[in-house]
Symmetry: C2
């Protein structure tokens, strides 16, 4: 293997080449036969198709060269092997290891970290089984029927999106073991609304904080314990209704305020933690450990496929490199994620964090400013809802927005009705095919209001149905896409220093320390406006 | 009054002037005393503050000149007076009239349209009262306790966002009359999930479609009627569980399949219809007609304030013009909406439609291409959740994204707990003040990973609490902001031709008509991929 080098994007030969290639006109390249040639298996039964991208063969070739020049697969293998790729925090990056070993065991101080993740999931599976069989019950003797996750950011968005994505699947597959709810915002209305909707006697809380110091989460823990005391019956012991997911070094780990604790470590970033105990506890309780393990298997399948060196056979790499082309050569500032499945209603919000928190950086891995664009703005809502909302701008606005469609042959709950010759799922897919075509090819009109220029690029991830394996692969596909882009940009996709300053200033305000600097006065003036 | 002229933005003297003014550095202009000078009452007890915008007095002056040169207030008065400002469809634009008369009565064929809107709301109020008092009941004799709105786009996003925004307020103010649910997506999983969670005997459906021909909505109507028949008890008559909100000329208006019908007209665009019967029916049923009428009063207050000619006293105009400056002079492609209130969780999704569907246009009101950027991409999630998610990119990404914060002194449900010296609501507001300050002023660091350049602009809308008046004003503020921007860009903000092509192609697929054109083959190839 050649030595690994870390180079800024604009210092590579392939990038220079790429910038000089002519942009393909979709009207010229998007033919029915191209659609057949541009599918790549993405894992978990999913397929990624890039036919409607403005990337002809010469661009794809150059993107493949770029991935080789930036040694993306080699660097991915380094990550899988335990390289300390989170340079800012000097940490390994091991979320892929939570779903299975790929290259070789990763150990630290003689201890096998993969075995540690497996052990935690085994403990969770046992715990969930006991809860489901009624061997672990609430403190007043009632079976638990509801689980409430208290966490924010990565401890909330990913697990919540996955829970919603599998709720319908679980119902029709007899895997709906417990209802799950989530409390995240420090806004007291969030916890109050959830607390009002549950029965304290039959509810199990999961407190999720890797550091054990997240202000919002600890506040909501205290909030919920207070509500339990006030509204629960005599004899209710709140501590017997709460488990923790945290790191072994956190202050929570040694607390006796929990029924049990499950562990993560510093090598799993919040936004990458859905396949660790952070997602494992809530999803195993809600749907059974076997469901969560099927999700892990799908993610592992995607991880393995992402090791393929040929860009035309690596869905995550292709998605990443086309995204880079759109960002750095075509100059598009945002990307929309549009799942044609109501069950994926919060999946775009998870990807928004995953992508924007990972790659919204202005310095490279050495701390030097980069002189090219990095991560784009990510947004999205489920189709067909989006069609009746912001698609107007996507079709006819002055800016072009690349689109990432997701669709499935079958609905999740399986219940459907034929109306005017087609069932709803067929209508849904007809709309999806229609949108891709309309965006790409447009339609001329004598009425300028009805003119569709087309030339608006999209990709499609599709599969038979949204089951746990497919969902796991979908999750891992985007994690790996984001990773490849970050590596190509030569940035660290695994820290998030940009969230710190706001925390520090909020603490300063709440601490009441007088700050007579100009910035301190501004801070105080805004706080005074709000506090009236 | 001078004659009204319609001029492209780039043909105005003020725009040329604006482009030549120097961008202010936030570090130089954002001082505590500027915060005091930059608040404008926005109606409903709300205040808009623009201290942290990169607009010094010279820019504000030029924006005021631009609003005069583009005759924005005069054109707004024209709209209020019934001008056919929706040029593409040759229609009046009368959503402001749904919340009260401002300039003069608007009549058509001798009939007073404002009186028509009032009459519909009066009929809704009477109907809702009868439902609440049990005088109108389900077909098996049970009282209605749940209302389900079936609609998509403007018939869904606005009413849903407003319902969620007032749910907590209604609970603590004894106005929670009925639970509301929404079905929008043609994905059968959407209707199936809602149908599984309701009791057919006690549920009232509202079918909302202005044209009476919306594919998704009619499909979901049939879907729901089928479920009612299959799961309801013998004797249940589905038609007696459904009302319609539609135009008087729609095929639905003459149907006897409804318990009752309430009317809108062609002068209320879908995304502007929340204050018409489209929002009125569901919100009056959920929270009582008096609550909805308080929301109308707040919106009317904002509408009246938007008539003010001085930009420094007109919150919607100032917000609009600063947004235009950011879009056309500073070149920012997107804007984030960040409410620090969990109750506003879906308000950004509504604004996304409102703004992007209104101003995502490439031709002016005469159908001529414009050579400047129009509507930006809009996205957002509630803080503090967003802080732990995409704020990383907002603080340290390579692109700058203007921010629109919203905050309130008090929480909505009023339940709170002091933890470590402050309650949750105070922590929430401390975080909000901290974010504005951090974005604007940044903080230098020797560690380039921890460097915050600042200079990232934001505005703040704030008030005492999120009650119906404040919510109405918030809604109208953004409607009027979008309207002013569209007028300044000389585009038609009131049509949405860009959503048509996709519909046509989907219908073609479902109709099965063979299409041997290249575009027809592409369409079919994508459909085949999905249908597997």
């Amino acid at each position: 293997m050649p030595e690994i080098k870390y180079t800024n994007l604009d210092k590579t030969a392939a990038y220079t080449k790429l910038k000089n290639l002519k942009k393909a006109e979709l009207k010229n390249i998007l033919k029915a036969d191209r659609i057949k040639r541009t599918s790549i298996a993405a894992g978990g039964g999913l397929t990624y198709n890039y036919a409607a991208k403005q990337a002809a063969d010469d661009v794809i070739d150059a993107l493949g060269e770029l991935s080789l020049e930036q040694q993306l697969i080699q660097k991915y293998m380094e990550i899988l092997s335990g390289a300390r790729m989170n340079t800012g925090e000097d940490r390994m990056v091991l979320h892929q290891l939570t779903r299975g070993q790929t290259v070789k065991p990763v150990a630290e101080n003689g201890s096998d970290i993969g075995a540690f993740y497996i052990e935690q999931q085994k403990r969770i599976a046992e715990f969930a089984g006991k809860v489901h069989r009624g061997e672990i019950r609430g403190s007043t003797g009632k079976n638990f029927d509801t689980v409430v996750q208290i966490g924010i950011g990565g401890s909330d968005l990913g697990p919540r999106a996955l829970y919603l994505a599998l709720e319908g699947w679980a119902e029709v597959n007899s895997k709906a073991m417990m209802d799950a709810l989530f409390i995240s915002n420090v806004d007291p209305d969030d916890a109050t609304a959830v607390a009002a909707s549950i029965d304290p006697e039959t509810t199990l809380f999961i407190l999720v904080s890797k550091s054990g110091t997240t202000q919002e989460t600890l506040t909501n823990q205290a909030f919920v314990l207070d509500v339990m005391k006030k509204t629960g019956p005599e004899g209710l012991v709140p501590a017997r209704h709460m488990i923790a997911v945290t790191s072994q070094t956190s202050p929570l780990a040694s607390s006796d305020e929990f029924l049990d604790s499950f562990y993560i470590d510093d090598y799993i970033g919040g936004r990458y933690s859905s396949t660790s105990a952070v997602g494992g506890a809530v999803l195993s309780l809600a749907f059974g450990a076997d469901t969560f393990e099927a999700l892990l298997a799908g993610a592992h399948d995607a991880d393995v496929r992402a090791m393929e060196a040929d860009i035309r056979s690596n869905a995550a790499l292709m998605d990443a490199m086309i995204g880079l082309y759109e960002r750095n050569v075509l100059g598009y500032p945002s990307t929309a994620v549009l799942p044609y499945s109501q069950s994926l209603s919060r999946f775009p919000a998870h990807l928004q964090q995953l992508d924007m928190e990972s790659n919204g950086k202005s310095v490279n891995r050495f701390g030097e400013p980069v002189s090219y664009s990095t991560g784009p703005v990510i947004f999205g809502e489920p189709g067909t809802n989006g069609q009746h909302s912001f698609y107007q701008l996507l079709h006819q606005g002055t800016d072009e927005v690349p689109l990432q469609f997701i669709g499935f042959k079958k609905s999740q709950r399986g219940f459907d009705l034929e109306i005017e010759g087609s069932d709803s799922q067929t209508k849904l897919n007809a709309n999806l095919a229609a949108q891709i075509t309309a965006f790409a090819l447009g339609q001329d009109s004598d009425n300028p209001n009805k003119q569709f220029n087309g030339g608006r690029p999209s990709s499609l991830i599709y599969g038979s149905d949204l089951n746990p394996e497919a969902l796991g692969a979908l999750l891992a596909h985007f994690e790996n896409k984001v990773m490849f882009q970050g590596l190509a940009w030569n940035i660290n996709s695994f820290d998030q220093e940009g969230v710190q300053l706001g925390k520090v200033l909020a603490k300063k305000l709440l601490g009441g320390a007088g700050d007579t600097s100009e910035s301190g006065k501004v801070l105080k003036a805004y706080f005074d406006l709000l506090q009236g």
